[in-house]
Structure formats: C-alpha cells, structure tokens
Amino acid sequence: MKRVVETKEVAGQSPNYLLAKFQELVDWAVNASRANSLWPMPFGTACCAIEFMATAASRYDFARFGMERQAFSPRQADVLICAGRLPFKLAPVIRRIYDQMPQPKWVISMGACASTGGIFDNYAMVQGIDTIVPVDVYVPGCPPRPEGLLYGVLLLHKKIRGESLFDAERRRDEQPLDEQGLRLSPAEIDEVSEPFGNSVHQFRSA
C-alpha cells in the first residue's frame, strides 16, 4: 500500500518488523475509513455558513469527499466545522459542543473570523476559536470559496492519514479547560489576539 505521508517515530512502536508492518496495516485501514467518512458538525454562524451550504449543494457537493451526512448532533459527528465569526456570547456554546463530540474528533476553523477574529477586532469577538478549542485545519478567506473549504477538508484527510493508533501521546486526547476555565494560558491568549499590520492604526475614533 502506498503511504501518503512518511512514517514518524512514535513512542510505543515496536522495533519488530512484523509487528511494525501489522501496525502500519491497521493504521492505514483505520485512518482511511476515518478520513473517507468524516461526518461534519456544521457550527455555522455567519457568512461562511452560507458558503458551507453552497459547498454542500449540488455544484461543489462535498458528499463526494465522504461528508455525506451533516451531523447536527455533536454526539454523532466527527469534525466540527466552525463556519463564521464567534462572539464571546457563543464561546461557551462551542466549547460545550466540542466537549460533547466523542473521540476521534477534529476541528476545521473555516474563514478568517473563526481563525483569527477576522475584521472584527473589537469587544464582542473571540480572536480565533483556537483560544477555546484545539484546531486542526485553518481555512482562510472571507468567506473562503467552496474550493477552499474542500482543500481544507482534503488537508484534514492528509493529516488523518498521518496519525497512528499506537501513538502513546495521542494528540487528540481531550484538552480540557484548566481550573480558570481557559484552554491556553492568559499570556498566550493575549499574544495571539494582538492586532497586527493595518489594524494597529484603526483604533482612533476620528
């Protein structure tokens, strides 16, 4: 079988040739079945949700890529696609939805607002959902074209195929919130939320 990505050294992989080949076979089968039938949980909030719907419609049709059934219940979903901007009022909601998804689960952050806060660098907007949930693929764009979202999904497929069941430090283990209720440290959150580029100059009212 053709490996899509190269093998990585993971703790717990056996040095025995036959066992390693067996692990490779199991990984290949499991990852292929996971990647080819990712059922998305569309957490669509704003404009990106419309492009998500357009990707689901006839012309771009992501059912071709295995996302046949959109799981509106997080308990039955594989990948959480956050399509649209996320205000602070919605932050505990996405965290709860993420917590309700069973393993294995992935997150695609669709659009500029979900990835970084987008054009909304103000009091109401979360500056990137990665301050709240761990993100696997970021799809930039405002909104990203359906082809862009499909590219992001394919990137996720590639990432899934590179995973291993026998990895002792499973990246996808639950990343719970700490006792303060945060996922990242306050310094990290402040750092990723810093304005950059032109938005540094946009805070003067007249």
Binding site: A46, M53, A57, I97, F120
Partner: protein, 417 residues
C-alpha cells in the same frame, strides 16, 4: 387533556420595588409544563438563535427568543472607519443579500453628503438590489422547505443562487462579500458579457420558480403545515413594526419601493404582492411572487441601462484613476487626502430606508463634520420581525414553531449585528 390554547400574558412585570424578580404564576390548570431549549446550535433555527419554549404537551404556551449570539459590534466598528471603509462591513450584516446592504448604506451616506449619483449608477444599483432580492428569497425558500421536510427545492434554489453568484463574481470579484458600492458610485463597472448573462438568467429563472411552485404550492403537506399557522393581523403587524414580506402578507400594502421610492423605482413597472391571512402560507406566496416581480424589474433595468460614468464627477469623493494619480499632482493630492483622511461628511444626520428582501433596512448616519461617523445605526428588519415570534407562536404546536420561525426570514448577522 383537551386541546385548547392557553393564553398567557407574555410580558413579565420584571423587578418589584425591592428589586426581587416578580414571579409569573403558573396557569390555572396545574398541568406540568416542559421548558425546552432550542439552540443556539440547532439546524432549524436559521442561525444562532436560542428559543426557550414552554410546552404543554406539544403546544407552545410561551416562546422566548434569545438573540445576541452573533453580536459582532458593527455599529461600534463603524465609528472607527471612514465611510468607504464601512462598505465591507455592510456585506456581513445581511450576508444573504450583500449588494442590497451595500446600496442601502451608500444611499444613506450620499444623502448625508448631498451627492447625486449618475443615471448609470442608479440603474446598476437597481439591478444589484433585485439580484439580491432573488438570492435572499432563494435561500429562504430552500431552507424553509428543508425545515418542513422538502429537500429538493433547496438544491434547485441553490443552483439558481450559483448563477447569480457567477454574475456577482464577474462584477465585483467576490461571490458573497461584494462591497459593491462606494460613496458617490460603484467599485467597478459591469464587464462586457454581464448584460447578456443576466438576460439569459432572467429568461430561464421563471422556469425554476414554476417548478418550485408546482412542487409546493398545492401540496397537501405544505399547505397543511403552513396555512393558518403563525397569523399576524394587519393591526398587529403595524404595531409590532414588521416590515417587508411579513407586513405585506398580513394585508398591509406598504412597500418602500412604491411608497417612498428611491433609485428611480417609481419609473419601473412592477407589482407588489399583498397577502390576506398573514400566515406562513401567505408569506411564502408573497415571497415567491416577489421573485417573479424582481425578474420583471431586472428585465426592464437591462433594457434601459444608459451609458455614461458610474461615479459622480467629484474628485473630493471619488478616487482618481491610478494612472492619473501617479502622473498628475492634483490627482495625487486628492488621492492622498481621500485615502489618508477619508471623505469628510458635513455636520448633520440622514436616514435612508430601502426595501431589503427581509424588510425595511435603514441606515442612519450622524456626523460631526469628520470623516468617521459619530453614530452608524442599522435599522435591522430581521431583528424587529423576530420580536414578533413570541406573539405568533403562542398556541401552536412545536413543529409549527419551526415553520413560523422559518417564515420570519431572519438572518442572524443582521439581527445581532
């Protein structure tokens, strides 16, 4: 237990003079009611809307909508941006009909600054508004039929949307976030094949509408689920400040294009559908017919599209062409002033309401003489239409609540701004 409607005063007295919450008593029959939470993440709420529903069996006794889950601080952001920089923000409020939002905001800014746009720009903006009306109603039609169980019209409607998206992309470069208008004109003129493609669209679009009409209008399931559901009488609709198809389906013949015309709408030949019963079925019929009428307006606009410039000939407002800005000193100075300082508006205020697909979209600008507005208020039609949901849902079944919510045609970006 017999089927009967339980009438409850929705308004709560709030806090008593000691600051304690005043309790609303349970209904007299003593039956247990269920408090059900729908949303904010729910496939049938059309966005991030949270509905807390008090149910007596399947009957909705009270429905309390909670909004604000998409509040993005648009109006605050507008105070920190020049007028032309606000145009991209308007795409993202009502993202189902972005060009109409752009036009509404530009009209208000031009009213404030006292700018008259060119004839070609006027007709192009009418084309933009009617294209937006079609795509917005197509989303509405698609998602409402999905909510009520019919999946296929969704695909047909979205295919039509793709054709309009092609046209939008041809014109502005973007499918959804168009940022079409500038103060005093447009971002760009239409490309050469635009008229032909749009004409082709208007030729074939009624076929899709007729297909959808054949599937839904006399369908027993559709009629059974929508007739008599969510009724708002004309007097209630006026009192609740409803606008757009919600108001017209209740029998109030008010359309801003006819009653407070803008962009030369009084010169176009079109009808305004007005309903009778004010239920979900009437709203469906009104919106379907509005698509036909928009098609008619598009055909007339294409016939009368005049030649000429799209931007007003005022170098203080419109950026000079790049070639001139690089070579001519005066043009360079105008370019510099507009980009660095923005176009200054005179002191005063202006409100312009346009007939958005969802209702009356108003933009209210208050200026203190600087290039950034003191206050930018969007009068959101979906927000105000949604406030009547609790009134419409009382006494209906939970599945009717889904139909009623769909018929309000909300877009949460505009509800929450």
């Amino acid at each position: 237990m017999s089927q009967r409607t339980v009438e409850l005063e929705l308004a709560t007295p709030g806090l008593d003079p000691q600051g304690r919450p005043v309790r609303v008593p349970l209904p007299a029959d003593g039956g247990e009611h269920l408090l059900l939470n729908m949303g904010p993440q729910h496939p049938a709420t059309h966005g991030v809307l949270r509905l807390v529903v008090e149910l007596d069996g399947e009957t909705v006794v009270r429905c309390i909508p909670h909004v604000g889950y998409l509040h993005s601080g648009f109006e605050k952001l507008g105070e920190y941006r020049h007028y032309n920089q606000i145009v991209p923000l308007t795409d993202r409020t009502d993202y189902l009909s972005p060009m109409a939002n752009n036009v509404g905001m530009a009209l208000a800014a031009e009213k404030l600054m006292g700018i008259e746009i060119t004839p070609r720009c006027t007709v192009l903006r009418v084309i933009a508004c009617e294209m937006s009306r079609i795509i917005s109603h197509m989303v509405w039609l698609g998602t409402t039929s999905i909510d009520l169980g019919a999946f296929t019209p969704f695909l047909w409607a979205f295919q039509e949307r793709e054709r309009i998206y092609n046209l939008q992309e041809m014109w502005t470069g973007a499918r959804l976030t168009t940022s079409l208008t500038r103060v005093g004109g447009l971002m760009a003129d239409i490309p050469d094949n635009f008229v032909e493609e749009l004409r082709e669209f208007t030729r074939t679009f009624p076929n899709t509408l007729n297909e959808i009409d054949r599937v839904l209008t006399r369908n027993a399931v559709w009629a059974g689920r929508t007739q008599g559901v969510g009724v708002m009488t004309a007097a209630e609709a006026i009192n609740y400040s409803l606008s757009g198809p919600m108001l017209r389906a209740s029998g109030v013949p008010y359309d801003l294009r006819k009653d407070k015309p803008y962009l030369g709408y009084e010169t176009y030949d079109f009808d305004v559908p007005v309903g009778e019963h004010g239920d979900v079925y009437d709203r469906y019929l009104v919106r379907l017919e509005e698509c036909h009428q928009s098609n008619r307006i598009l055909q007339q606009a294409l016939e009368r599209l005049p030649d000429g410039p799209i931007n007003v000939d005022d170098p203080r407002v419109i950026l000079p062409p790049k070639s001139r800005a690089m070579s001519d000193m005066e043009a360079m100075i105008f370019h510099f002033k507009q980009v660095m300082e923005g176009v200054k508006a005179p002191v005063g205020e202006a409100y312009v309401g346009i007939e958005n697909p969802k209702g009356e979209l108003g933009n209210y600008f208050v200026s203190d003489g600087t290039a950034k507005p003191v206050r930018w208020r969007i009068r959101p039609p979906s927000f105000i239409n949604l406030s009547a949901l609790s009134k419409m849902a009382q006494g209906h079944l939970l599945s009717d609540l889904v139909a009623i919510n769909a018929s309000v045609d909300i877009v949460m970006g505009e509800v929450d701004r």
